[in-house]
């Protein structure tokens, strides 16, 4: 068996904004939005971004392996938080992957995810593509309605692949359906994009690929064409001779189009439902087209991500407050109160000393007494030990735990008050006072079970920096009896 896909994972933010809420707020200006006011779109919580979603999706994928460390990490997005601070390296350190991993950021195209995958598979190496997108659209725009935030990951390699890579082709064409030269996207007429773009560029690449793979269009069981145009995949499929039933749902009703992450998200969804022997055709469109052909193997049922697409879609909280969406996306200047005015400078030399704690969430385990602790300080915290330099690094990112103490603080500044935080006790030892994120009112008690997640802690608007750290999230499990 050759190269191919060995695993996949996904993350869709829990918040799902009802499109009707957007339409209701904006129809006074653009009545046509009412026609789009169906279903819901995913929205990042204020502390989620491309990197944090990428950590979730990659973690979801890696959880399906036993200690797998891909030697190459491609991170694809058009909305990286940093233009020059390698986002994939932050991702790598948050995932606690080996430092000898090749980390690459790929951006500037809706094809960033598919091109990364193609490059990785053509190169023949083991690796992982993580694609993540958090596009901001102007208030009241079609993009605001039709887009969503999401991330997905696929692992590649040889050995027991779940989907064999049969071939891939790429075509470059500076067809400017849209572009982003400043803060927001600017696009051209949909009908032109469909007729001159989708219906000409995609068939050319796909036809060439199918011919080179000696495969007929009718053999395609899963056809992925990420687009915000609802009817475009059908039109392209018809032109190519692909059965209408093969079109992979664009998740418009539940997620929206997540830019460069969308092809990988849909690929993950297809892998979740594919049966052995089925053919998956993945396309990515943007200044040309990528097309990749896979065939699911007998091992397709053998890989299980932690949650997968269906799991992350099911972890949903309905949002009806459009004003909150605007605030979370920095589309309105909110009054923060004076407590929100404090300086949030990051002292980079200090951060560098604490990267293992702040990004990788490593604590320590004492070699003398066995006490697990976080943060890892010079002396062991056990009052009976206090040994010097006695601790080995100990990972907490994969640990679960329970709430010891908590509060909902309405005095301190928080972008989504109240601020929930409290003391967490980890299974296997260690405890830490942490922020809780995305707590439902009444949804936390001492004893509540938690998992931990890499999130944005603070934004520093004066310097364009953002701080990350790990936060606890309440698991929807029964409170323990202890």
């Amino acid at each position: 068996m050759g190269r191919g896909i060995t695993g996949f994972g996904a993350h869709v933010p829990q918040g799902r904004l009802r499109r009707a809420a957007i339409a209701e707020a904006n129809a006074w200006f653009d009545a046509s939005l009412k026609g789009l006011g169906r279903g819901e779109r995913s929205m990042c919580h204020w502390d989620e971004d491309v990197i944090t979603m990428g950590v979730e999706a990659a973690g979801d994928c890696l959880a399906g392996f036993d200690g797998h460390a891909p030697p190459a990490l491609y991170f694809a997005s058009t909305t990286f938080p940093f233009l020059d601070r390698q986002n994939s390296v932050v991702l790598l350190e948050a995932l606690n992957l080996p430092r000898r991993t090749l980390a690459v950021d790929v951006g500037a195209s809706q094809r960033a995810g598919t091109s990364s995958l193609l490059a990785l598979l053509r190169g023949g190496g083991d690796g992982m593509v993580v694609a993540s997108e958090h596009r901001r659209a102007k208030a009241g725009s079609r993009g605001e309605m039709l887009w969503g935030d999401a991330a997905a990951a696929v692992a590649t390699g040889g050995g027991p692949v779940i989907a064999e890579f049969l071939g891939g082709q790429s075509l470059a064409a500076d067809f400017v359906d849209h572009y982003r030269g400043g803060e927001f996207d600017y696009d051209w007429e949909e009908r032109w994009i469909r007729d001159e773009g989708y219906l000409k560029i995609i068939p050319e690449v796909v036809a060439g690929l199918l011919a080179s793979c000696h495969t007929g269009a009718a053999d395609i069981a899963h056809f992925i064409l990420p687009t915000e145009q609802a009817r475009a995949p059908g039109a392209v499929a018809k032109k190519l001779g692909i059965a209408p039933g093969a079109i992979v749902d664009n998740q418009a009703a539940a997620v929206g189009v997540a830019g460069a992450a969308q092809p990988i998200l849909l690929l993950a969804a297809a892998l979740e439902s594919a049966k052995p022997g089925e053919m998956i055709l993945l396309t990515g469109f943007g200044q040309g087209c990528d097309a990749l052909l896979f065939r699911a193997t007998d091992a397709i049922g053998g890989f299980r991500p932690a949650r997968g697409v269906s799991g992350t879609l099911a972890a949903r909280r309905e949002e009806n407050n459009y004003a909150r969406f605007l605030a979370f996306n920095d589309l309105v200047e909110r009054d923060t109160g004076k407590r929100g005015e404090t300086d949030r400078q990051t002292y980079l030399s200090g951060y560098n000393r604490r990267r293992d704690l702040v990004t990788s969430f490593l604590g320590g385990k004492c070699r003398i007494c066995g006490t697990v602790q976080i943060p890892r300080e010079k002396y062991c915290v056990n009052p009976e030990c206090h040994a010097l330099d006695s601790q080995d690094p100990y990972p907490f990112a994969d640990k679960r735990g329970e709430v010891l103490t908590w509060t909902a603080d309405r005095l301190t500044f928080d972008p989504s008050p109240p601020a929930y935080f409290g003391m967490v006790r980890f299974d296997g030892g260690g405890k830490l006072m942490m922020d809780f994120t995305e707590v439902d009112e009444g949804g936390i008690e001492s004893g509540s079970r938690i998992s931990v997640h890499f999130r944005v802690r603070q934004y520093d608007p004066h310097r364009g920096f953002r701080k990350y750290f790990w936060k606890a999230k309440i698991l929807r499990e029964p409170v323990s009896a202890s």
């Binding site: 915290v381 509060t407 005095l411 405890k431």
Partner: protein, 398 residues
Amino acid sequence: MAQGIKDKVAILGMGCSKFGERWDASPADLMVEAFEECLADAGIEREAIEAAWFGAGIDAFHVGASAMPMAIALRLNYIPVTKVENMCATGTEAFRGAVYAVASGACDIALALGVEKLKDTGYGGLPQRSRGVENDMYWPNLSAPGAFAQLATGYRARHRVNKRDLKRAMAHVSVKSHANGAKNPKAHLRREITEQQAMDAPFIAEPIGLYDCCGVSDGSACAIVTTPEIARSLGKDHLVAVKALQLAVSNGTESSHESWDGSHLKTTRIAARRAYDEAGVRQPAEEISMTEVHDCFSITELVTMEDLQLAGEGEAVTAVLDGEFDAEGKLPCQIDGGLKCFGHPIGASGLRMIYENYLQLQGRAGARQLADPKLGLNHNLGGFPHQNICSISMIGHM
């Protein structure tokens, strides 16, 4: 073997400014107000002061760094002045410095003064501020009520107390302090409240509501200390002497070791044991006449009653609701109104507490005077339940 501080140092005089939203007063004005009262009470001239300790908690918002702001405000005579800062225990730390100086024999008369100007921030509550470069990277952005609210959840979980019962006991703590504060002309908040008001007030940090929080105010308090012999030679009788001065500082056990469950204050338990040993107190609930404890929040006072061994473990809710710590109870707490009604100008609070016990021991507490008190306990808590500084001092008759 050290003998401890008991009866080695006497209080020669004390002073305390009016606490409140002192829009009219600068930190220097507040210092002078407390100092003038203190000098008059001591019956000495400022030139007799040989060394001084200056407590101020949050520099950036009022006096600035170093001991100079006090030396300048009080026109001290180029004597040694030391600035101390130990969060909410700052005032007591200034007192400890002055007392130790006298006890050591290094000087005869020493001054301790604390001040804080909190009302120049432009908003309510304590000033938002950095916790330090490294802590700011990963600590929750917790407010003081947010930190102490966790004591309530930890206590509830440990003792299986339901939310309503604990909240009612917390309300009683505040109702009692407001009743006391109403009788005190120097208090900031001088209105009685009802249990229902306290229960119904909006949450600041669940389950801490508005009336579970102490006030935020400006104020200053100070003490002049000397040896009992010098005090007598200056014509003082009914001497009030220092019986114990203890401090316990967290070493990270509570925040990072599993032995602490968030239901109590480890430092208070340790400092209390040491203070009782130092003062020779064997049965604290019987021997102590009154307490001024760090009621930054009602839950802190409630839990502190257990940590000071003045209520059995898990029994504070009942003891509070039974009125044991009310003005007429068997062991009055915050007879002056406490932080609840004085507010908490950080550098001043510890000395303000000692001031009340000093007045009570001298029979000068006016409308709130207790009958024949003999021993007063002062308790300060700086920081947060999981990481804090506890100071416990005791004063009493010689």
